[in-house]
């Protein structure tokens, strides 16, 4: 590669690291940046580390700026994150019932209620976006969650498609 391409790559990497560091103290879960020739997708994964993907259509060294996924062997599909659609108080079970709606390992159908997001007197059922098995439950009952917070994971049998694949 020419010197300018290499130095551009290094600048980009430093810039991404600085961006990631500045996000660490916040509760921003997803940041997307679109620049000419660059589309950056920074997503806070389920243990709080950020997974960065920068896609440069004309660069051949795309993989050099990709941070590796935190866990799971490349052959296994990523668990599908279920996110809160709004700010609210997370209820793992209905207030009238003792048991939570689902537990880790339970098979769930598409559209099945997994949890409830309480906003005032109203509760929004959080429905399974796909069929599968409940993976990790990442929040506690009564926890205040923000828009986009990952609440739990669904493990499906099919591999997940990358959201920004081109």
């Amino acid at each position: 590669m020419s010197g300018s391409a290499t130095s551009r790559k290094v600048d980009l990497l430093a810039w991404m690291r600085a961006l990631e560091a500045s996000l660490r103290g916040t509760d921003i879960a997803l940041l997307q940046v679109q620049l000419p020739g660059l589309h950056l997708h920074l997503q806070r994964d389920t243990v709080g580390e950020t997974v960065a993907k920068a896609l440069q259509p004309q660069a051949t060294a795309t993989t050099a700026v990709q941070a590796p996924p935190a866990r799971s062997a490349p052959s296994q599909p990523e668990p599908y994150p279920v996110r809160a659609g709004s700010v609210g108080v997370l209820r793992l079970g209905h207030p009238l019932h003792a048991q939570p709606l689902v537990h880790t390992g339970q098979a769930v159908a598409l559209g099945q209620a997994l949890a409830l997001l309480q906003i005032g007197a109203v509760m929004l059922p959080i429905l399974a976006p796909c069929a599968g098995r409940v993976g990790r439950v990442l929040v506690q009952d009564g926890q205040l969650v923000g828009y986009g917070s990952v609440l739990l994971e669904i493990k499906t049998d099919r591999p997940q498609e990358a959201p920004d694949a081109d």
């Binding site: 209620a113 005032g120 007197a121 109203v122 929004l124």
Partner: protein
């Protein structure tokens, strides 16, 4: 359109009641738990006084003949749609051919015994004397003036399906009322209160009153310490309203409920306030209740509190319904 496959007796179409007709000797009827009925309507975006199905005898089996949304409030009857459990106090969507089963009300701390099934736009039955409530004694209103039978078909006033799934916190959680561990209702002393002995007054406010099996939509017969007048009382029949606590000669009080006769001749020791009738309407037979002495201004405050809760809930639900609709 919904078909009734199997029903117990005494499940009727009700709305918030037939008001303004007591002067003609026509009782109010209406849902025993009017707050649950109104909340179920709010969940679907209906007018709060739209007609619904009051279920007080379980189990109930219904089949949806067309896709439709619906809401279930009141007692948590462990409802299932084609075998899948449904959240209580929530909206759901059914497809044509699916079967809805309401089982037995859960025995939980909230002491509920009646469930409400609301449909989009309300149940489509004719209005009679300004209401869609069933007047059982007069055999009019609701579905042909009678309780539901197997084979009856209920039509929603609007065809609606695919509504935002929404759930509500039941009003008991927002407005709890208990007295020493028992569910309680507030009572105003009535016209003949002063004609009773001090011991009777103590028994009214301090005693536990059990709801006997001789209790239904007409009235609840209670059992407890006998209430005695200072001197024998005989009165001419006079106008009464739901909530009035009458004392027959045996001293065991009767609380008039929604299908009460508009007149009665027994002395009245107290009246359950309108704002607490929904609580009383949910107490199961065999349970005990307490009476809390209250004043007129407190009764008005309680009424305002319930209306405010309903308005607030309807507003919050509309916010979610509108928001999801645009997304």
């Amino acid at each position: 359109m919904i078909e009734v496959l199997r029903t117990g007796a005494l499940n009727t179409i009700q709305d918030l009641g037939r008001h303004g007709c007591l002067g003609w000797g026509v009782g109010t009827a209406g849902a025993m738990d009017d707050v649950a009925l109104a909340a179920g309507n709010a969940l679907l975006g209906n007018a709060l006084d739209a007609a619904a199905l009051e279920v007080q005898v379980f189990p109930l089996r219904l089949r949806f003949l067309a896709d439709s949304d619906f809401a279930l409030t009141g007692a948590d009857a462990q409802a299932q749609l084609d075998g899948l459990p449904l959240l209580p106090w929530a909206t759901h969507s059914a497809r044509a051919g699916q079967t809805l089963v309401l089982g037995l009300p859960q025995v939980d701390a909230l002491h509920r015994s009646r469930a409400y099934l609301c449909l989009p736009g309300g149940v489509d039955v004719p209005r009679v004397l300004n209401s869609r409530s069933t007047q059982m004694r007069g055999a009019f209103g609701g579905l042909d003036g009678r309780a539901l039978h197997a084979g009856d078909k209920l039509r929603p006033a609007q065809a609606a399906c695919g509504a935002t799934p929404l759930a509500l916190l039941p009003p008991e959680l927002a407005m709890p009322l208990r007295c020493e561990g028992s569910p309680a209702v507030r009572v105003l002393p009535a016209a003949e209160y002063a004609r009773y002995t001090p011991a009777s007054h103590d028994a009214l406010w301090q005693g536990e009153w059990r709801i006997t099996p001789q209790s239904d939509r007409y009235g609840y017969r209670l059992t407890g310490q006998a209430l005695q007048p200072l001197a024998p009382l005989e009165m001419r029949s006079h106008g009464i309203v739901p909530g009035v606590i009458q004392v027959p000669p045996d001293g065991q009080p009767i609380v008039q409920m929604r299908d009460a006769q508009p007149t009665g001749g027994y002395p009245k020791i107290g009246a359950v306030i309108e704002a607490d009738l929904w609580r009383l309407g949910q107490i199961p037979i065999g349970s005990c209740i307490r009476f809390i002495e209250t004043r007129w201004d407190e009764a008005l405050d309680a009424h305002a509190q319930v209306q405010d809760w309903l308005a607030d809930v309807a507003r919050q639900l509309q916010l979610q319904q509108g928001r999801r609709g645009c997304a």
